[in-house]
Subunit: 90 residues, 2 copies
């Protein structure tokens, strides 16, 4: 069974994010004064072949730890959903 | 009231994603044969000052259309949540 793993990676709170500051300034220049802070990050979608969602989540978590995320400066969130659900939603 | 807007941006289906292919190959080299496809993208967190979540969502959608997303080659998803909820969750 196929699952779609979604991973969001952002810099930890204390790590300076110059790209985010630049985007915030650009938003202000476009009159979006409501934007008080912008943090940028990375996003990954991984199609995983697994027997069930628990196994897919476990594999995705291992992938994050080994390759996708640098735990020194980054934090991440991930979740897994069956592919069928994803396709009907888009 | 403050809201946290979360935006995920990925390349559209037909657009070649060489970074995703490279990551997939790296995962295979790390014995993650379950990873069948990897798509990469961007992730933004925007702190928005707004009267209610409907207004915050509207503003975030405008920010996506004007600056954060290139609709020619990218698709995006966004949602908004109150900041309090986010802080208690982390």
């Amino acid at each position: 069974m196929k699952f779609l793993g979604k991973v969001t990676v952002t810099l930890k709170r204390g790590v300076f994010d110059p790209q985010g500051v630049t985007i915030k300034n650009a938003l202000h220049n476009l009159s979006f004064r409501e934007a008080e802070e912008v943090r940028t990050g990375k996003y990954f979608e991984v199609v995983i072949e697994a027997a069930n969602s628990t196994e897919a989540e476990k594999k995705l978590s291992e992938m994050c730890d080994l390759l996708l995320v640098n735990p020194v400066i980054e934090r991440h969130g991930c979740h897994v959903e069956p592919i069928e659900e994803m396709e009907s939603a888009t």
